[in-house]
Symmetry: C2
Subunit: 321 residues, 2 copies
């Protein structure tokens, strides 16, 4: 029986995304199940396998036709053993052996990696990456996440903490970060950071167009900031320029290490498209060795929420090749 | 005939270091020949092969017993083809096909990489690295060089410019760098940078112990600075602290990407040992995610000038495995 299918799973704090693929990455089916965090997430492996087994039956796929299962999870992961050192958002305690449990349930090869790393791998396979050998992926949303690919492989690091671009320190005396330190990149350039800067400095910029959405909705979004900038609002433009400047320097320094051919920007803030990419590229070029800048292209991520399951499926291909 | 030998070659601006190894890395012989830069370095491949052929004869080694030849060169290298994009110090013009020429002369598999990358690989095999899967190597001398290993492999990047740690930008309005930009790490933390800071600020510190060696020798060295610091010279201590601070932040940010188990510091300035490592580690820890800091160890490089040939030999093992 030829093993022609791949399974990709992306475990999040609210839902678990699952998909079955042909070997070439064509999606046969994708669906979600809720993440049951009761009892420190103990039922999650069983929930995944039950749902997958049913779905395979529905498509008349024998589990023996599946090459393996790739799984992305938030937190720090030992990708050699598939054990999760820690994943606070899910409730898993230290060293939850997700990989082993899924393997025992399914009888399939199981490969586990960090969700941001697998999103990078997914974009590299079927999205904006085009199978780059060296790629930096950055997700700008509530926080700033990252995934790094060198020599075609995800970089996990020695304890699953590689690619933590959001925690590059950019201001020694900056804002408090969720990680307990100060001045991490994400305090300035995440959606949260952008909105906080706008709200804090709005009183010094009483004529800004941002007053209207703030008064109307009681809060601001990055979309409000990009929209106001489009209307020529100088204050909003200054916030975007600062973000582009700080992010451009941080990415330039990462590129000085990785020398990527592609830099893929995803997450909610990336929806701003060229409004973000143009000033970001300008700042990046000013901070980067010309030889590194010349070799790389900035792209907006293409797969959205599917990047994780696509990358998980590709991980299986890669590990079994 | 069993292929039990490895050849490592390290091409520098003044001399070419060469060595023949057993498969386990034991050095059978090592020697140097001068680098003939006449006519844009055209005779270098022939010089290397003539010298190697003679040496193999001397040791009664048939070239057929050699697994392959690893070659390190300064500059930007296409490690897939063994072609040198550019190596100003040697005189090679654009796209000098070093790998192909050596292969044609020797009939052996030839693998070429950047010299700093191979020094990192050498330290990882037989020096301070202990075969780390993820390692950062930094050489602090006239400039600041670097080599990065992820997933056990050297990172070359998309056009041979990865690991250029010395060109991480640390001060947007800093000193002019050899690369044509301003404020690169090496302008502050190289030996050249340290000595320049000391000489410039010495007039504001007339009681510093550094006056004596400067008056005696007409110049300063980093050894003078470390020696004066040992005697309690506050000015020299302040220079070392600033270097540790700037270097510690830059390495912390690289470690945030790579999550290494080892950080190996080499080059002339590393001879200061704990006088550098202790303040450097303190600064690094203050800038780094605790999880990343906990996972990594700082070590002084152990192989000195042999790192390049050892890494070149290991590259052969790795590529043929």
């Amino acid at each position: 029986m030829s093993k022609k299918f791949l399974v990709g799973i992306d475990i999040g704090g609210t839902s678990i995304k699952m998909a079955v693929f042909e070997d070439d990455g064509t999606i046969i089916d994708k669906w979600e199940i809720p993440t049951n965090k009761d009892n420190q997430g103990v039922s999650i492996p069983g929930d995944i396998w039950t749902s997958l087994e049913n779905k395979l039956k529905e498509h008349s796929i024998d589990p023996k036709e599946v090459q393996g299962m790739g799984v992305g999870a938030p937190g720090f992961i030992d990708s050699d053993t598939g054990s999760i050192y820690e994943a606070v958002n899910i409730g898993w305690k230290k060293n939850f052996d997700l990989g082993k449990q899924l393997q025992a349930l399914s009888g399939l090869p199981v490969f586990v990696d960090n969700d941001a790393n697998l999103a990078a791998l997914g974009e590299n396979w079927k999205g904006a990456g085009n199978l780059a050998e060296n790629l930096i992926a950055i997700t700008i949303g509530t926080g700033v996440g990252g995934g790094i690919i060198t020599n075609g492989q995800v970089v996990n690091g020695s304890n699953g903490t590689a690619g933590e671009i959001g925690h590059i320190m950019v201001e020694a005396d900056g804002y408090a970060c969720n990680c307990g330190r100060k001045g991490c990149l994400e305090t300035v350039t995440s959606a949260t950071g952008m909105v906080r800067q706008a709200k804090e400095k709005l009183k010094d910029n009483p004529n800004s167009l941002l007053k209207t959405p703030l008064e109307k909705n009681g809060d601001l979004t990055t979309k409000d900031i990009f929209d106001a900038a489009k209307e020529g609002d100088a204050f909003s433009i200054s916030i975007i320029e600062r973000v582009a400047d700080v992010l451009g320097l941080a990415i330039a320094n990462v590129a000085t290490i990785v020398n990527p051919s592609k830099i893929v920007i995803g997450g909610g803030v990336s929806k701003a498209g060229d409004q973000l990419l143009i000033p970001l590229r300008k700042a990046f070029d000013s901070f980067c060795l010309p030889r590194i800048s010349e070799a790389c292209e900035f792209r907006i991520a293409q797969l959205g929420n599917d990047a994780g399951v696509v990358g998980a499926a590709y991980l299986v291909k890669q590990k079994l090749s």
